[in-house]
Symmetry: C2
Subunit: 452 residues, 2 copies
C-alpha cells in the first residue's frame, strides 16, 4: 500500500467534477479516508463541496466535516439541503456537535441545534457545560457501560445491540448500580472468555480515570504516562460520564506544545494557524509584549546615561555592551527553556528548586569560566588594554552565572506562584539579565580602571 498519494486523488476528483462524472466520483470517494476528502474540499468552491458531500454516505460525510474548520462545518451544513444536513448531523458524534455549536456565533448555533434530533439535544447540552480545555470539554459520550454481575454472553448481546452506534468500542466499562466506574474489559478479553463467566471475574479493577473538571493537559499526562488508548472520565462521585481517546489527546499535546513555543518566542499564542491569522491579530498578539519589554529595557538606557562620564573617558568600554547583553540572554534562554520543558513534562517540580539551583550554579560556573577566558583574549585583541580585558572577563563570568541561575529559577518561582512558566521566555529573561550585566560591568570597569 505504502503512502497514500493525496495529490493524485485530488487531480482525479477535480477532473471528474469538471466532466460531471458523478458515478466515478462516488466510487473514488468511497476509497478515500474522511481526512483526505476534507483536504480535497478545502481546495474546492462551495458548489463542488456540496456535490461531494451529497455523493458520500451519511457516515462518511459526517466524519469528513469533523476535519474542517468550524466556520466551514457551519457553512456547509447551513447550505446543504435540509434533509441531508439533518441526516449528517444525526450521524455526527455528540461531542463534535457540541464543539461546533460552542465555536460559532450563538445565532448560527441555534440553527444547528434546530437540526439536531430530539434525543441528542440533552447530551449536547450536557457537554456544553464543560470548558473546552477540560477533560469534560474533550470527552466523548460514545462508550459502552455494563453491570458487573452480567455474564460475558449478556455483555456481547448488549454490545451487538448498542455497539453499532458507538464508534469508540475497544473497551467496555463496568459500573455498579449507582453508575460508579468499577472495572474495564477489552473487547479482546471478552472474545477470549467463556460465555458464562461473570464480567466481574475478568474485568480489571485498577482503572485509571480522570475527573471531568480536570485540565486537558492532565489527561494528556495520564494517558502518556500510563500508555492508554482510552481514558475514562468520572464525575465527583466517581460515576462514569465519558471517555477520552488517544487521537484527541495527540491534538492536545500538539496544541499545548505550540502554545509553549509561541510564549517562549514572546508572543501570545495564536488561536488559528499562522496563515489563517489576520494582520491585525498577528500585530496585536505581538505589539503588547514588544512595548512591555521596551519599557523594561528602557532601564538600560538610564544605566548607560548614569555611567556617561565613564563612557566618555574610555569609549572602548562601549564596544562590549552588545556582547554582555547577548551572551547573558543566550545562557539565560538556554537554562530557562530546559527548565520550562522539564516542568511541562513533569520531569521536575517546584520541589526540586534547591537541587536545580545547585546544579545550575555548578554548570554556569563552568560555562562562565570558559567564556571569561575566551572574552579576556578577545577584549585584549580589540581594545588593546589589559584592564578592559580583565573587566570584560570578570563581567562575563558573573553574567553567565547570574543569567543561568535567573533563567532556571524564574520559571520555577513562576510555577510556584501559579504563573505559566512559559511566560518567562527568552525576551523577558534577556531584559532582566541586561540590567544586571550593564550595572555590573560599569562598576567593575570603574573599579579596575580607577575612573572617578
Amino acid at each position: 500500500m505504502g503512502e497514500r498519494n493525496i495529490v493524485s486523488f485530488k487531480e482525479s476528483a477535480e477532473e471528474m467534477l469538471a466532466s460531471q462524472d458523478y458515478e466515478a466520483l462516488r466510487e473514488l470517494l468511497e476509497e478515500l479516508h474522511p481526512y483526505e476528502v476534507a483536504t480535497l474540499l478545502e481546495e474546492l468552491e462551495e458548489p463542488e463541496q456540496l456535490i461531494i458531500l451529497e455523493l458520500m454516505s451519511t457516515d462518511m460525510a459526517a466524519e469528513t466535516l469533523e476535519h474542517l474548520e468550524y466556520e466551514d462545518q457551519y457553512r456547509l451544513l447551513d447550505h446543504l439541503e435540509d434533509t441531508v444536513a439533518r441526516k449528517i448531523i444525526a450521524a455526527m458524534p455528540s461531542d463534535v456537535i457540541a464543539d461546533l455549536v460552542m465555536a460559532i456565533h450563538p445565532h448560527q448555533a441555534q440553527k444547528i441545534l434546530g437540526m439536531v434530533p430530539e434525543e441528542y439535544l440533552q447530551k449536547i447540552e450536557y457537554l456544553m457545560t464543560y470548558p473546552e480545555d477540560s477533560a469534560g470539554g474533550i470527552m466523548s459520550l460514545e462508550y459502552i457501560a455494563v453491570r458487573e454481575r452480567w455474564t460475558v454472553e449478556r455483555v456481547i448481546e448488549h454490545f451487538r445491540k448498542v455497539g453499532r452506534k458507538e464508534s469508540i468500542a475497544s473497551y467496555i466499562y463496568v459500573v455498579d448500580n449507582i453508575g460508579q466506574l468499577v472495572g474495564v474489559v477489552s473487547l479482546k478479553e471478552l472474545l477470549l472468555s467463556h460465555p458464562k463467566t461473570p464480567i466481574s471475574e475478568i474485568m480489571h479493577t485498577n482503572v485509571v480515570a480522570i475527573p471531568v473538571d480536570a485540565d486537558q493537559e492532565e489527561a494528556a499526562k495520564l494517558m502518556s504516562q500510563y500508555d492508554l488508548l482510552v481514558l475514562p472520565v468520572v464525575d465527583s462521585r466517581g460515576r462514569l460520564v465519558g471517555v477520552i481517546t488517544a487521537d484527541d489527546i495527540m491534538d492536545v499535546i500538539e496544541e499545548e506544545s505550540t502554545e509553549d513555543i509561541h510564549k517562549l518566542g514572546g508572543s501570545k499564542p495564536l488561536d488559528l494557524p499562522y496563515m489563517h491569522s489576520s494582520l491585525i491579530t498577528l500585530f496585536s498578539k505581538r505589539i503588547n509584549w514588544l512595548i512591555f519589554l521596551f519599557a523594561v529595557q528602557a532601564v538600560t538606557s538610564n544605566i548607560l546615561k548614569h555611567f556617561q562620564s565613564v563612557l566618555s573617558s574610555v569609549v572602548a568600554l562601549s564596544f562590549f555592551i552588545p556582547l554582555f547583553t547577548d551572551t547573558g540572554g543566550n545562557s539565560g534562554t538556554q537554562a530557562s527553556s530546559l527548565i520550562i520543558r522539564s516542568l511541562a513534562l513533569g520531569e521536575v517540580t517546584t520541589k526540586d528548586a534547591t537541587r536545580i539551583l545547585i546544579k545550575e550554579l555548578q554548570v554556569s560556573a563552568m560555562l562562565g569560566a570558559t567564556m571569561g577566558i575566551v572574552g579576556y583574549f578577545f577584549a585584549w585583541a580589540v581594545a588593546g588594554s589589559v584592564e578592559i580585558a580583565i573587566a570584560v572577563a570578570i563581567t562575563l563570568f558573573v553574567v553567565l552565572v547570574v543569567s543561568s541561575t535567573i533563567g532556571a529559577m524564574l520559571p520555577i518561582i513562576g510555577s510556584k506562584l501559579g504563573i505559566d512558566p512559559a511566560v518567562f521566555s527568552a525576551p523577558l529573561i534577556t531584559t532582566v539579565v541586561d540590567i544586571v550585566a550593564l550595572t555590573l560591568y560599569f562598576n567593575i570597569a570603574t573599579l579596575i580602571l580607577g575612573i572617578k
Copy 2:
C-alpha cells in the same frame, strides 16, 4: 474512582516491605497499574526492587519494566534469579526487548539476548535493523493478520487461538497471499457481523499505512491527521510488517516538541531528562553554542570600534544600543517561533515563502511604526535631542521590519536547504539582527547629526 493517589500507594508499600508483610504487598501490587509500580521501584533500593518484581505476576513484571530507564531494566533482569528473568523476558513484547538491547552496552545486550526464547530471537533481530527514530524502530510486531477469503467465523477462531499473546488487538489486518496489506477490520465490526460473512465483504480497503523506513515524525503526523489509534507499517512491496500504536506516538510527539524547544532555547537537545543529565553533559550541550554565538557577535564590537569617533563626539548615542539589539532580537524571535512551529505542524510549507514574506512585511511595518513613535518620545526624554530621537525612531522602524523578516524567512530558507528550522533559534536571530541594527543606527545617526 477519581485520580489515583500514587503517594499513598507508595507509603503503604514501603510499610509492608519494612514489616516483611509480603502477602499484603502482593495484594496491593495486584491493584496497581504497571506505571505506578515503576514509579514505586524508582524510589526503592535494589533488594526491595527485586522482591517486588518477584511478587508480581510475570506479565505485570514485564509491563512494569517497560516504564523504567534502560539501564534499570538491564540491571534488574541481570540481578533477578535466572528462571524468573527468563520468564519476564518471554512476556515482554519483542519491540521492547529490541529497544532495550539497542540502548545498552553490546556486552550487556549479549546477556539479555542469551535469555530470550529461541523463537523470539529472529523477531528481535529483525526489529534491530531499523533506526530508532524510524517507523520500523517504533513499530510492534504484535498484530493479527488474516486472509481476505476467510469468513468472520474463521477469523474469530484464529483470533481465539493467537489473540491471547498479542496485546494490540483492537484491529485485525487483512493481507493477500503474498502478505500485502489489503484491508482492516475492527474487533467491533467482527463482533457485529454474521459468522458466515467473508472478511473481504466487511473490511475497509482505504487503509492508511506508513513505509517501514519513514521517519517517526511522519508517523505522528499521519496518525494525528487521520485520527488513528493504530497505524500499520508496510515494507517497500506493501507487505504488512508491523503496527504503531497511539500511546507510542504520544511519546514521539512530546519528544519532538522537546527537541524543538531545546533547540529554540539554543542548546543541543538533551537525551535524558534535565535532572538525570550530568554536569558535563549540560555543560557540553550548551558551551559550543555560546562560543559560536560569541564569535559571531564579536562583529558587533568591531562595528562599535569602527564608529568610535562618532561615539566619542556624541556619547548619548550609546545609551540606546541595548534597546536596538534587544528589540530586534525580540521581534525576530517572535516571528521565527511562529514560523518554526507552523512548519513543524505542517501548517505552512516552503512553498508559502512569498505569502509569508508579504505578510511579515505588512505586520512588521505596523509593529515598526508603533515602536518608532514610542522610541522617538523615549529618546527625546532621555537624550534631550530631536536629532538623536529621529535617528532612534528610524532605526527602530527598520530594525523591526528587518528582524521580523529575517526571523520569518531564515527557518523557511533552512527548511528548503534541508536544515532543521529549529536551529534558527532566538540566539542566532538576535545575533544577525544586532549586526544589522548597529550598522544602520550609526550610519543614520552620522547622517542626521552631520558628524564626520
